[in-house]
């Protein structure tokens, strides 16, 4: 298992977000993390990435306890695409992707031939080869997101986390990005987890879906999730309901 959460409890301040959740995410799979705003999607991703505090329980990455890893070991195990915007003038896409090699490079960050090859391949895999020399401030949201994913690929980690990668993207871009993540999970054998509000992208492209139903987490294969009734519960009382057969959200019949 790439990611193993055991009796994990998360929260901040006096708020309890997730209470003793247990889940296992294997490699070679794309998993969507669903849940309403403020239910702890980002908090969970950050905790797995080693950025946030854990109240109790355990996170194991590739059979190693997260807290036992050094910063560099962690950086070679897990990469994270955050919601932070990177729009820096004078910084080329290739330089950003090359920064992903940081856990492997020397004190000043020199790239060797192998690093350069990996950077180029990461750009290829994300379909951004022709953008290598463009600067970050000239890209669209979708292109920017792809470069940040290429950077995560260059980091060469078995686990990749993404925090709302489809936000700010237009409709075709959302599906293209989802397809890209799916391909990377299946062909590169990576364990990819992304949080999203795009129910349709999640249900049509992901192998499994993790749904936060505060304060618990349900993690099921997509097909099982659709018919589990958990998704319907998200909408109760809003005049909307989720229809498992068409896998879409509809207005409740009067």
């Amino acid at each position: 298992m790439s990611i193993r959460l055991h009796q994990l409890t998360l929260g901040y301040g006096s708020r309890l977000l997730l209470d003793h959740i247990t889940a296992e995410l294997p490699d070679g799979q794309l998993t969507a993390l669903l849940g309403r705003n403020g239910t702890g999607k980002s908090t969970l991703l950050r905790a797995i990435a080693g950025l946030g505090p854990i109240r109790s329980g355990e996170i194991r990455l590739c059979d190693q306890e997260l807290t036992g890893l050094t910063a560099q070991q962690r950086a070679r195990t897990i990469s994270f695409v955050t919601t932070d915007k990177v729009r820096i003038a004078n910084l080329t896409c290739e330089e950003v992707v090359a920064l992903g090699r940081a856990p492997y490079t020397d004190w000043i960050g020199r790239l060797n031939d192998e690093d350069r090859r990996i950077v180029r391949r990461a750009l290829q895999l994300t379909g951004m080869e022709s953008f290598g020399h463009k600067t970050m401030d000239t890209l669209s949201d979708g292109e920017c997101q792809r470069i940040m994913i290429a950077r995560a690929l260059a980091q060469d980690t078995p686990i990749v986390l993404l925090d709302e990668p489809t936000a700010f993207l237009d409709l075709p871009n959302r599906y293209e990005l989802g397809t890209l993540l799916r391909r990377l999970a299946h062909h590169e054998g990576k364990c990819i987890v992304f949080s999203t509000h795009d129910l349709d992208v999640a249900l049509s492209l992901c192998d499994s879906v993790a749904l936060i139903d505060p304060p618990t987490l349900h993690h099921l294969p997509t097909e099982a999730m659709v018919h589990s009734g958990h998704i319907e519960r998200l909408f109760t009382g809003d005049g909307l309901h989720f229809d498992p057969d068409s896998r879409s959200v509809r207005a409740a019949k009067e």
């Binding site: 490699d27 910084l91 492997y104 490079t105 350069r116 180029r120 078995p158 054998g189």
Partner: protein, 393 residues
Amino acid sequence: MKAQEHTLSPSGSPAEGKELHKTTHCKTTYYSSTNHTTNTPPNPEKKIRAPHRSHLYNNRKKRHTLLFVGLSVLLILLFAVDLTIGSADITLRDVWAALTGGECSAIHRQIILHIRLLKALTALLAGAALAASGLQMQTLFRNPLAGPYVLGLSSGASLGVALFLLGAPLLGVAHHSIVQSLGIAGAAWIGSALVLFIVMAVSRRIKDIMVILILGMMLGSGISSVVEMLQYLSDESALKSFVIWTMGSLGEVTSEQMQLLVPTILAGLLLSIASIKPLNLLLLGEHYARTMGLNILRARRLIFVSTILLAGTCTAFCGPIGFIGLAVPHLARMLFASADHRTLMPASMLIGALLLVGCDLLTKSFAFPINTVTALLGIPVVIVVVLRNRNFF
């Protein structure tokens, strides 16, 4: 954990270059430090050639080399001119003789070696130091308008020096020159460290860059008022030595002080070179930097110590000098069109040294205080930066 290897074809891309790297899953052998852990593809016959560098890349590299050579030559020229110009009329031949230990009058030798060379060296080191600390502050705070002067570090150093110079006579250590220069430096380090500590602590909680700038300015103004109050309370001779210090001058540095200034500035510059990789990672923000393996505490400590050594020492011995730290990193960005600190750091040091040696030349010719010249040089740069409103972070 099963090791999987896939050769993958990215959305119909041609077959070459597919097997570039294999992801061996959950490989838990970690390598201790800096060596590369890339796996060689098991099927070497499909190995693709290393990507060739494009024209654009080569042009950029050529441009950088040209700029570095040009700026270095200019610096050497200005440094040389700086040695030959001064109130005393000394011929070029005598300047050369004094420097190389040849035949020339003792007075001329004294002027060249103990006044002009000292001053030019101070300008060179202070310029490089202020620019390097400015670049560090701008990236650390992700704020294009940050710099040691703007963030109040120079004011903090002033307060330290004021407390020392105005208070030392009471302790009876004032006129011992080595104690005095150590005391001034130490007081400046403590003062600027205190201000930087406060600014960094607040910036951890509040991400708004304007808040940090305003906080720095307010701290600076508050400290200046305290310093002025101190002046009213102190005796005449202590006041005199402090007022001379506040005027900010490259020429007040004595050769004893140089023995302290040169090693500390060099140490600070070395630390700032060591901070190049952390700074590059911090370009993408703290979260990204941490997930790419940056030990954020260690990086902050490194940048903190380096900046205190650079900005604190400069302020201790040359007085508060504005705008170099703020404007020079932007000049480097404009000239080199780069955001990579491997280019920006040496470029900033070079341009900073160049500008301050140039300022020294101007102040010598017209007897202006150094701060007036640095302000006039720096303000247009800041205005351009503000008006362009580009994203540097």
